[in-house]
Symmetry: C2
Subunit: 364 residues, 2 copies
């Protein structure tokens, strides 16, 4: 538990606009703590800082006291609320291996999750229904394998990933780009509360920080940095998920991508990543093998296993297929096949498209 005067010194260091994280880390390395930085004689600071920065450090921003008080009240309002500083035993070791570790982390929930093995699951805010389902199924499978799922609480893939992780026995971390007294997007308010209770909400931003566009790519470095590997489920070219993947690569972590149709814009980012060396995964087992994690027996694998299921469903592709082609594929007479397809249509497993085409709808 952080002391009030330590919290005050950390916030003062972070809230001094002229001092960036890199300068702050340099000062911390030289003086040992924020207190020591502020107690240092001007001559000692001069050696490390420009006159301008040294002067900025001497005058706390006017809003600082209110922020300290608000943060202190926020911490006091619940046992599960934490502020973890660089050097704190609870600080995530995985972030220490990255190029730009945050100085202070706000968190609500199970703080121990900061130091358990995790995998990031990220992707498009506008996924296909199948993409969202894949995110959920992979997250559940990873959760079963004992891996915590890290994501960004965004709409689409992120939300499905958190949800899927909580559906399994494991947990999830949401790294957000706002202060922890706010929830963005609003549509995920309920999900954020579930994560705060059963998982962990994390932010490096001070309370009250609104959703600023510039924060989201920075937030992505924490998602990538916390996790042993990053799975991109669906992503367009030039999307934020590709930034997360690049940051994971820079942090020396594994990158995984789920392939899809070459005609789907939501798969292009994943295909680009695979071309650049990301590992193609078609089952959560691929991720576990790469990370040397074992899958418990009987746990879901997050991919269809056609040998064990309905032969018609197994033979139906993801693309629309004609009755004749399907009949040729599985060797059933068309009449029999037609009857079975009707059953599958009624059970919601198959869709009938114009032109006597049939398509499988894959659900969890």
């Amino acid at each position: 538990m952080i002391e009030r005067d330590d919290l005050a010194a950390w916030l003062r260091l972070l809230e001094t606009p002229a001092i960036g994280r890199e300068t702050a880390r340099r000062l911390l390395a030289a003086f040992g703590s924020p207190h020591a930085i502020f107690d240092a004689p001007p001559v000692a600071l001069k050696e490390l800082l420009t006159a301008e920065k040294a002067s900025a450090l001497r005058s706390p921003p006017p809003s600082l006291d209110a922020l300290i008080e608000a943060t202190w009240q926020w911490l006091a309002a619940g046992e599960q609320r934490h502020v973890v500083a660089l050097g704190d035993p609870a600080y995530p070791r995985a972030l220490l291996e990255t190029a730009d570790p945050p100085l202070l982390i706000h968190a609500i929930g199970r703080i121990a999750l900061l130091n358990v093995p995790s995998v990031a699951v990220v992707g498009s805010r506008n996924p296909t229904p199948q993409g969202a389902e894949n995110a959920r199924a992979f997250a559940t499978a990873l959760s079963h394998a004992g891996l915590t799922v890290v994501s960004g609480l965004a709409l689409g893939i992120d939300g499905s990933a958190h949800d899927g992780a909580l559906a399994g026995p494991g947990s999830t971390i949401a790294v957000v780009g706002t202060g922890l007294d706010r929830v963005y997007p609003k549509r995920h308010l309920k999900l954020a509360h579930r994560i705060a209770r059963d998982g962990l909400m994390v932010s490096e931003y001070a309370l009250g920080t609104p959703p600023l566009a510039a924060h989201f790519p920075l937030r992505n470095r924490l998602i990538a940095g916390l996790a042993r590997g990053t799975l991109v489920v669906e992503a367009a070219l030039e999307s934020g998920s590709l930034i997360t993947a690049r940051l994971a690569l820079e942090a020396g972590r594994e990158i995984f991508a789920i392939p899809g149709s070459i005609h789907a814009p939501q798969s292009r980012g994943c295909h680009a990543l695979i071309k650049q060396g990301a590992k193609l995964v078609d089952s959560a087992v691929d991720i576990l093998e790469e990370l040397r994690f074992d899958m418990p027996e009987g746990a879901p694998l997050a991919a269809s296993t056609p040998s064990k299921e309905d032969p018609v469903l197994a033979a139906l592709g993801h693309d629309p297929v004609t009755l004749d082609a399907l009949s040729a594929r599985i060797g059933w007479p068309p009449a029999e096949l037609s009857a079975r397809l009707l059953e599958l249509e009624l059970s919601g497993d198959v869709a009938r498209l114009p032109g006597q085409l049939f398509q499988r709808l894959v659900q969890a």
Copy 2:
């Protein structure tokens, strides 16, 4: 043009059951020609062969004379019919770099195609409609780029690949597992005749050879061996296309694979190949770049280029999507989007699925 007595000696060497291709190549290396092998004194053969094989070589099989006569008549029946032996100037140089080059090639069509740059396009006999369309579109694009498309005349991907290649300015080679006086499968009789006229039909099997299961994997080594690279369009696990890909790898050629849904059995083989190092391709340009071939300006690329096309189609995924998700994705009001979707449905570009889902249908 092969001489009748040379043809007779080659066929006698090939038709001697105890002498396999490897022994035959060893004998040819020692004696220089089939004639010289049969003229060699028994003592010279003894050094290279077991007594049993040497004895087999002295007694031509009873059916040999009929085969020689039939092959000679077959050759005489058309200018485009060829028998090309190892060492012949028309023999494909690409096959000489492989572990097991055929000794004699029967061919009908444009014999010069044996020595032009080519790419193999292979895959499932039971593809999805989209898979067949992808095979056709990639083959047409390769044809435009000046590459000849090699495949195996099988139903499904092979047929679409030949067809797509002939639709472009380039050509195609069908390597078959039967004698060239037969067509298998029968359904491709018309296609085989088109290829014999505008491309090249190739077989290493003697006239009259029926479609034997054992010949097809062997035939695949010629498909892989003729081509600079092999593209697997769709393939189940444990399929013949994966054998072709392995043979291409052994011959030091490039392997390309088109990804698809992780739930599609027809994509599993492609995904397995990509995991093993095959190059993921989502456009023919990927293949041309790898083979250092230029794409002529204005030629089709065999993959959608969303930036140039209808924004609604570009944003519609390959998986079903809701009106709301699509509206959020492209920023159109639902009413306007709904009207446009109806138009696209009527033009056959979009299918409306149960549950207000929309899906793109991609055609050439």
